[in-house]
Amino acid sequence: MFNLVENDDDFEIKINGDLTIYNAIETHTYFSELECQQNKKYTLNCEDINNIDTSGLQLLVAFKNKVISNQALFELKNIESEVLSKINLLNLKSELFITE
């Protein structure tokens, strides 16, 4: 479900599937075990996420917290409209550093 690609100083994690309660444990395990390196950028590519629920949003925020606490950078990209609408609904755009 997760593909990690390293480009120079950045890491891009492609998430292949929805972020919902149904796969929350798998997502949590991956995010928890991923080691975050200082000054690196971690980009979550969301183009294949069609659905997200509150458990998924909590995991995104928790992962973001982990990244920044390790003094690394966090970014979300290619966010599908359905996912973006839920982020907007819970007013989490600034929390997840979404600027567009």
Partner: protein
């Protein structure tokens, strides 16, 4: 773990109750009782169903119910009045809501037929709702509500139960639903409780929400949004301009003026706080002393109750085993302790059985609609009167009783009550009457369906029975025997078969269903005056108080409620060599269980000869009929856990069930109505065994 299903089941169960409530309210309106309370009930039922459906994303229900709600709102506001046409549409719309609730949204999307019905009913309701069918979209519902000038601003603080995600409840669904009944101006998602990712359980909810919300809906409607997650949740819904809100704002902003608030203000605020808490208590959020004065209800899955009853059944059997062991010890202290245990076991059994008791009135209320629709279909004018709705019966029995009752009521309307013209010709009131009543009688529940129709035509039954070769022309039958023919498979005297009754496939099934509940049906009828069907049922089928007797080598249980008295058979002299005894002037037929079940004595004959030649007779009663059961030994009262009969014994007459005794032996539970009937029918046969 993922238990969305539980919440959905609750939604289905509550919707069913609300639909029944709507039915009752519509019937009241039809009867001219359209006061504000009834109309509010009607509106609120539709509104709650719509709200709950929205939470589950069942927008086919939301969209359809919304227009009903609009119409009912117009009725409440006296913009329109309910006439006969609107009433008929509302009845159909309510039925369609029931269909939609029981239809999966995907099935609905693929069903042109259901969509067509929705569309037709929408069109019919539209002229009363003053909105176009095509406009029924959730977003437009939103804007319509938002344009209402009476809207109020609310601050909603949501700290939902941490396991709500695991139960399939996503706060996003609730927020989406709030958007359908008002406007969300702002949401602040609080993350103060979100732990580090390593410490978090990904299936628990940590987010807390503060929502600025504007709606014209009352507070109760906003509270209803969260009805499925109220347990272990903190939900505060406070009007923005309320004093309590102002006070909280002051505290939150840590304004220096807080120190200037005098004690009177603090006291006032405490009172407000209390009111807010009590208001939340209505939804079961938390507990305070105020709420204790109110009766509270907990919705419990009925399967859990069944498990509890079964376990108590096992406890009763174990207790009997302990009893028999302790009796042998002759230890007084132990016996005293066991007696106390017995009393508690009995109380526990009664309390558990009581949990499963429901008033029959809930079922009876459905008949108002059935009678209304059936009368319309038959073109007859019939009034239904209900009495004894508070009579309680085991829920399992109520469920199984509904279909037989529907059949009897429909039969009474179709076959019994005459047309208005015929009634007028016969000098009767033009309106026919059906009475549905229930009452307790000697440990049983009796449910009666009576009508003031033409009564049962005995001549026609006889002719039909002869033509079907059930009886021959020389047969002489009593009224009861004649009426019993109605329960014969395929028997119908109605010449014209209607889609309501008259196919002769119903009454025998009705009788079998009632017998399966250990009950019986008795018919009384007078030609030209009317008929009465009386169903007599035990209160429960699970655990009964029994009277333990022995005959030969076998143990039998007589349901305690049927036992009148016991005595030595020797004191009676037989009457004219007939199988009956003279009990204080009353001739009572009897049956010897040993002879009836062809039982053998296990002990050697000489022992029996010396030990005991005396027999006992237990007088039993069912309804108006009495009989004596001759047995060898009386063992005394016993709590009996009723177990179903194995297939080998099912064909055995006179046995209705089995039970396990404390010593591990099996006892048969006697079918008293059947044995009484048998003893009456064999009363005049020559005596063989007993002298």
């Amino acid at each position: 773990m993922m238990d969305m299903n539980d919440a959905l089941q609750t939604f289905y169960a509550e919707s069913e109750e609300l639909l029944e409530k709507m039915d009752s309210a519509l019937l009241l309106v039809e009867g001219g009782d359209n006061n504000d309370e009834v109309l509010n009930d009607l509106f609120r039922s539709a509104h709650t169903i719509k709200g709950s459906a929205g939470i589950f994303g069942l927008f086919h229900i939301v969209n359809f119910t919304h227009i009903i709600e609009n119409v009912l709102d117009n009725v409440r506001d006296k913009v329109i009045t309910i006439d006969k046409d609107l009433l008929n549409v509302l009845f159909k719309a309510k039925d369609h809501m029931g269909t939609l609730i029981n239809t999966d949204i995907q099935v609905y999307e693929e069903s042109e037929e259901l969509k067509e019905i929705s569309s037709t009913l929408h069109s019919a309701l539209n002229k009363y709702a003053d909105i176009k069918t095509s406009e029924i979209q959730l977003n437009e519902v939103d804007s319509e509500i938002n344009s209402d000038s009476k809207s109020t601003n609310w601050n909603i603080h949501l700290k939902l139960s941490s396991d709500c995600l695991q139960n399939g409840m996503d706060p996003i669904s609730f927020i989406n639903y709030l958007m359908s009944i008002g406007t969300i101006h702002k949401i602040i998602t609080g993350m103060s409780e979100l732990p580090n990712i390593q410490d978090m359980d990904p299936e628990l909810l940590y987010f807390i929400f503060d929502i600025e919300f504007e709606s014209s809906e009352p507070k109760s409607a906003i509270e209803d949004t969260f009805m499925f997650v109220i347990e272990n949740s903190t939900i505060d819904i406070i009007e923005t301009n309320s004093p309590i809100k102002q006070f909280i704002d002051v505290l939150i902003t840590d304004n220096p003026t807080v120190t200037q608030i005098d004690t009177a203000n603090i006291k006032q605020t405490e009172e407000f706080s209390e009111k807010v808490t009590v208001s939340n208590n209505d939804n079961g959020n938390s507990t305070t002393t105020d709420s204790n004065s109110r009766t509270k209800f907990v919705r419990v899955n009925s399967e859990r109750l069944d498990i509890l009853i079964n376990l108590i059944g096992e406890l009763v059997i174990s207790k009997q085993r302990v009893d028999s062991i302790c009796e042998k010890t002759k230890d007084d202290v132990l016996l005293e302790a066991i007696e106390s245990l017995g009393n508690h076991t009995e109380s526990l059994r009664d309390a558990a059985l009581d949990l499963r008791m429901v008033p029959i009135g809930e079922t009876f209320q459905r008949f108002r609609r059935i009678v209304r629709d059936t009368a319309q279909e038959l073109g007859k004018d019939i009034e239904l009167t209900i009495t004894g709705g508070e009579t309680e019966l085991d829920r399992l029995m109520v469920e199984k009783l509904t279909d037989p009752l529907i059949h009897i009521v429909r039969n009474a309307m179709d076959h019994g009550v005459e047309s208005t013209e015929t009634r007028i010709e016969a000098g009767k009131e033009p309106q026919g009457k059906i009475l549905l009543s229930a009452f307790h009688d000697a440990g049983h529940v009796v449910i009666e369906v009576s009508d003031d129709g033409g009564g049962i035509n005995k001549k026609r039954i006889t002719e039909k029975a002869i033509s079907l070769n059930i009886i021959d022309e020389s047969s002489t039958l009593s009224d009861q025997e004649l009426y019993a023919l109605l329960f014969h498979p395929g028997f119908s005297t109605k010449e014209e078969v209607t889609n309501l009754s008259g196919r002769g496939v119903g009454m025998d099934v009705v009788n079998k269903n009632v017998q399966a509940l250990q009950g019986s049906i008795e018919i009384e009828s007078e030609e030209g005056v009317g008929s009465k069907f009386s169903i007599r049922l035990p209160l429960t089928l699970a655990i009964i108080d029994g009277f333990h007797v022995r005959s030969g080598s076998s143990d039998f249980i007589i349901p305690q409620a049927t036992v009148v008295e016991c005595m030595d058979l020797a004191i009676f002299s037989t009457v004219d060599q007939r199988r009956c005894v003279n009990l204080r002037g009353e001739m009572i037929p009897y049956i010897d269980l040993k002879e009836f079940f062809k039982l053998k004595t296990t002990e050697p004959e000489q022992v029996v000869h010396h030990k005991k030649t005396r027999k006992e007779v237990v007088i039993v009663q069912f309804g108006e009929e009495r009989a004596g059961l001759v047995v060898d030994d009386l063992q005394g009262e016993i709590q009996t856990v009723v177990k179903p009969l194995s297939s080998i014994f099912k064909c055995l007459p006179g046995i209705s069930g089995s039970s396990l005794l404390g010593n591990g032996e099996i006892a048969f539970i006697l079918d008293i109505p059947q044995l009484i009937e048998k003893s009456i029918s064999t009363e005049n046969r020559p005596m063989e065994t007993f002298k």
